[in-house]
Amino acid sequence: MPPISPKNNQKNAFPRQVEMPFAVVQGQKLSVFPDDLYIPPDALEVILEAFEGPLDLLLYLIKRQNLDILDINVSEITRQYTDYISIMQDLKFELASDYLVMAAMLTEIKSQMLLPRVSEVIEEAMDPRAELIRRLQEYEVFKNAAKNIDKLTRLDRDIFLARAELSGPDPVILRPTVTLQDIKKALESVDERSRLSQHHEISEEIISTRERMADILSRLNKQTFVTFGSLFDPIEGKLGVIVTFLAVMELMKERLVDIVQTDSFGMIYVRAQEL
């Protein structure tokens, strides 16, 4: 189901079409990767849980090699990233679709980098890595901002409210009224919430593909076909498009939709499968 097959990528990794050092460590240019990728399998779940998402994992991979975000070697990072992903999948670890989306994006960039270049001079704007670099930088800015917010002086951790009560007879105070129903509803909402948060973050996010599957199904019926393209909403950007795509593939696999294409390169139509 994932759009890429990491194992194969790994075999023809290092096409070496451009000889470019990916790291400078203590003044020495490195173009061969240190072979320290092995991570004990049981540590993986823990590691993955420690990441806030694919961008976070990528940042970690880049930082661990002391690489500069601006100068990442996409084939190498893609290889490492897909290694992680494939080990996860081998372990039948349910991966959030976001991680697969990123793998797809990396593979796309990598293939663009492999295309022959018209001009020797690679223009900054034409660099297929530009968007990824921009996103990594932007994410890092907010990852840092989150750390700074955590360090801010905070009520009930660093400072506390100073309060005193009124002495003397109880004044006539208009206090909020509360009904038993309010209390019952409050507890039900707590229970609901704690039930939801029992799934850990990653399996929870699988829902985004599943949610999308449900959305698509609700838009389809058995009588009429809709065009494949109409299922996509460009406003959602690349991520949304890929999630929709994954959702359609999943629906197909689960035999919930029919997909029809009458001639090659012709329109693709989708409808709900007859039960």
Binding site: L161, L166, L174, P176, K184, A186, E192
Partner: protein, 197 residues
């Protein structure tokens, strides 16, 4: 410990605590190595009392310890604070009250664990002030956290004769039927869990 810092710590604790503090409880603010003598704490409390002479608040000793309170003569102005707006309680407050009502007795930590967000001292204070909850003991774990439970006044306000009359909880579709059983379990085991104050 310098007497200024000692004084600040005692002042802070008395203004933070939702309930009055005894001298023993004030002693417990300090680690063994820094703990001042009881006399010194008493003298500091007296010092603070003197210093408040002209303030809008005073430090008084009530049955269960010392507490800061606002002077009685200011009551008519203080009442204006509430006059217009009986503010609504926040969802956070209602959830805290609901958890104490259905799962009592439990600690602030228990509530945070279930709610997933912090419970402020202020929320506890408001519920204590309103007379709806009380401290029924302390759990016998490090730190001896206070165990909260609802009061008779809580039952009166809601016109209940006992907790069994609380509305039954709707069990969510996927929610296992474990909502009620453990709750009752907690209530029954409650007495064994409580260590007397």
């Amino acid at each position: 410990m310098k007497s200024l810092l000692l004084r600040q710590i005692i002042e802070g604790a008395l203004l933070l605590s939702p309930t009055p503090l005894t001298i023993a409880e004030l002693e417990n603010l300090f680690s063994d190595s820094e703990r001042p003598a009881r006399d010194q704490i008493l003298a500091t409390v007296e010092d603070i009392q003197l210093d408040c002479r002209d303030r809008g608040y005073e430090l008084v000793e009530v049955a269960s310890g010392f507490r800061f309170q606002i002077r009685e003569k200011l009551a008519s102005w203080m009442h204006r604070l509430w006059e217009e707006k009986p503010k609504r309680y926040s969802n956070a407050m209602l959830e805290t009250l609901a958890l104490i009502a259905y799962r009592q007795p439990l600690t602030r930590g228990d509530i945070e664990l279930v709610r997933g967000v912090a419970v402020s001292s202020d929320m506890i204070r408001t519920l204590l002030e309103r007379g709806w909850i009380k401290i029924v003991g302390h759990r016998d774990v490090p730190g001896k956290p206070a165990l909260y439970a609802t009061t008779k006044e809580f039952l009166n306000y809601f016109n209940l004769s006992d907790l069994g009359q609380l509305p039954e909880l709707k069990v969510g579709e996927n929610m296992e039927a474990n909502v009620h059983q453990p709750t009752l379990g907690v209530l029954e085991s409650a007495s064994s869990e409580i260590t007397e104050n």
